[in-house]
């Protein structure tokens, strides 16, 4: 059931003050009690419990969320990133977690700077992060330190750039690759010339 709309939170989505959200979500309370200052903010827009956390505490927090019996987040649902071009920190790595036993969800967001778009890999906590982190590397250029084989998953290796970044225009063409490739400009390709 959607809740009543809450006030907009400023130019970047999801950043808001702590306090209210931890009262409504025991999981956020638990996380705040265990990790204190590593939690930058919490939110529950439309009822989604969200915690914005410091990059350094990510692995410890993930292990806690998986192993703590009240949290029990055994299923990593999704790993992705959002590119807030023009804002600093530019990227936010977003993790969606679910607990099969407790039937509750959590969203973790880790802000990273453009100058060092990397974060620790959570593959050792949830093996399912393997392909999800590869996808985030492929499309956003976020490096996951400690990943056993961080290479592109959707795009071919010679692809230049990370297309889901906001400064990658949708219409950009890539150089032709492959044996015998002769690069022709598709915008200026008149065979009669």
């Amino acid at each position: 059931m959607p809740e009543a709309p809450t006030a907009p939170t400023g130019e970047a989505a999801g950043v808001s003050e702590t306090g209210d959200a931890t009262a409504r979500h025991p999981v956020l309370r638990r996380l705040a009690d265990a990790f204190g200052s590593a939690i930058i903010a919490t939110d529950d827009f439309r009822g989604d419990a969200t915690a914005i956390v410091d990059r350094g505490a990510l692995i410890a927090m993930c292990r806690f969320l998986r192993d703590d019996p009240d949290a029990s987040f055994d299923l990593l649902v999704d790993v992705t990133a959002v590119d807030y071009l023009g804002r600093s920190p530019r990227f936010e790595i977003v993790y969606h977690l679910y607990s099969v036993e407790k039937n509750h969800r959590l969203r973790l967001k880790v802000p990273v700077e453009e100058s060092d778009p990397s974060v620790a890999s959570v593959v050792d906590v949830w093996p399912g992060a393997n392909w999800l982190e590869r996808e985030t590397w492929d499309l956003y250029g976020i490096r996951f330190d400690g990943h056993p084989g961080l290479k592109r998953i959707y795009l071919y290796e010679e692809f230049e750039g990370h297309p889901l970044r906001k400064d990658y225009p949708k219409e950009r063409r890539q150089p032709i690759i492959g044996p015998g490739a002769v690069h022709r400009d598709p915008m200026n390709d008149d065979l009669r010339k």
């Binding site: 009543a4 809450t6 989505a13 989604d48 649902v77 999704d78 977003v94 969800r105 499309l139 889901l164």
Partner: protein, 421 residues
């Protein structure tokens, strides 16, 4: 639920990833000759790797010692496209995610948008969406079962499944005009209401599909070749599956009863009776049986929805979100302005982000929408169940025979459009 033949030996889930040994022990007088594993590239243009995927295999004889699965051959940039259009312009793209259950994608995306916009649709619309979702789920499962039997050599069963799917697609056609690329759901409603003949039409179609399904079951489930190929192949423990992020029939076949329609009900799933089939072992046979049973449950849900569906409007009465009918647009100023703005700028939600998951044919289909307050989504991510499920293929076939790749891959039901987006 376990429909294994009681005469076969009892089986417990093996602790290791590899299934039990099948090849006989070598004779005493054989030589240990040096060997290299053979590299085999299976796909992307292989008849069994439908949806285009490439499986790189290293084989020791018939046994797989190493495998790598390459996806992305059908990557079309769903997210990037959605970011460059308005919220309602994403619906045709969602059709093409899991293109064998298009309505579920439509419904999931619409529900995520409605969570973001904080609007609730009328009752009739909810029932229609559930009917559409379940009918699409049946299409997905028929495709999966049919493709699996085809690749195991049972061509007749495949044709029966495809004919059953045709009946289901006739229902799609009746709802929206298209068999596959449905584009049926809208933010705040559905594209068009159904007529008085709809319930009888659907009941008739589902009855015909059920007859074909019964034939399919009779052909396959007692067939010893089918059982031999499917039983105890593709095994992975439920802890490993959860750790890999696997959801849907794959997880339920292994004994984890996680179904979003039951765990976090949406639309009217809390008002209809249905069972969630759960397997025991999690081998390919269990996955097949779970889907067979889910088809029956889907039919049950649709029948109840047809009984319960009330008359009334199918669209939310909010001209800023859903187009008001032309009668009002041409006669009232507010609706006229709203129509203009809706078409040119699109509906505009508040700044914020939501994640909403529905039960897709293959598992948790989630949409993560980030809004910057304009008519275009800042980010529109589809959490793909096929992507996470396909990640489990490599562990499942580790140490298995080459022939086991086929039923395992089929039962994962990787849909290229959903896996690669």
């Amino acid at each position: 639920m376990s429909e294994h033949d009681p005469h076969t030996e009892t089986h417990g889930a093996p602790a290791s990833v590899a299934p039990e040994t099948r090849a006989p022990e070598p004779a005493e007088d054989t030589l240990d000759l040096p060997f290299e594993p053979m590299e085999l590239k299976m796909g992307p243009s292989h008849p069994a790797t439908h949806g285009t995927v490439r499986i790189l295999l290293k084989l020791d004889g018939e046994r797989i010692v190493e495998s790598e699965v390459e996806v992305g051959y059908l990557h079309r940039g769903f997210e990037k496209e959605c970011e460059s259009g308005l919220y309602y312009q994403a619906f045709p793209y969602t059709d093409r995610l899991n293109y064998v259950s298009p309505m579920i994608n439509n419904v999931g995306y619409a529900l995520a948008c409605e969570k973001l916009f904080a609007i609730d649709v009328p009752e009739r619309c909810k029932y229609l969406r559930v009917i559409a979702s379940e009918v699409s789920r049946m299409s997905d499962h028929y495709t999966c079962l049919g493709a699996c039997s085809l690749e195991l050599g049972a061509f007749t069963a495949f044709l029966y499944a495809v004919e059953a799917r045709e009946h289901v697609w006739d229902i799609h056609d009746h709802l929206c005009g298209a068999r596959v690329t449905t584009n049926y759901v809208r933010i705040g409603g559905v594209s068009v209401d159904v007529g008085r003949e709809f319930p009888a039409f659907v009941r008739d179609k589902l009855a015909q599909a059920a007859k074909l399904q019964q034939d399919l079951e009779d052909l396959l489930l007692a067939n010893p070749i089918f059982r031999e190929r499917m039983e105890k192949t593709g095994l992975l423990s439920k802890e490993q599956l959860v750790a890999l992020g696997v959801t849907g029939p794959l997880l339920r076949a292994a004994g984890v009863p996680y179904d979003i329609r039951r765990a976090q009900p949406y639309l009217v799933y809390d008002r209809v009776d249905f069972d969630v089939p759960v397997g025991e072992l999690g081998d390919n046979l269990d996955r097949f049986l779970v889907r067979i049973e889910e088809l029956k449950q889907s039919r049950r849900i649709v029948e109840q929805c047809l009984d319960q569906m009330p008359p009334g409007p199918v669209d939310v009465n909010d001209p800023k979100v859903r187009l008001a009918g032309k009668g009002r647009v041409f006669n009232r100023m507010e609706e006229l302005i709203a129509q203009f703005k809706l078409v040119t700028e699109g509906p505009t939600p508040p700044v914020g982000e939501v994640y909403l998951a529905v039960e897709g044919g293959n598992g948790e289909l989630g949409f993560y929408l980030v809004s910057d307050g304009t008519g275009k989504p800042y980010k529109c991510r589809a959490r793909s169940p096929s992507f996470s499920n396909t990640q489990a293929l490599s562990p499942m076939i580790q140490g298995a025979l080459l022939a086991d790749v086929i039923p395992t891959f089929d039962m994962i039901n990787m849909i290229g459009g959903e896996c690669d987006r």
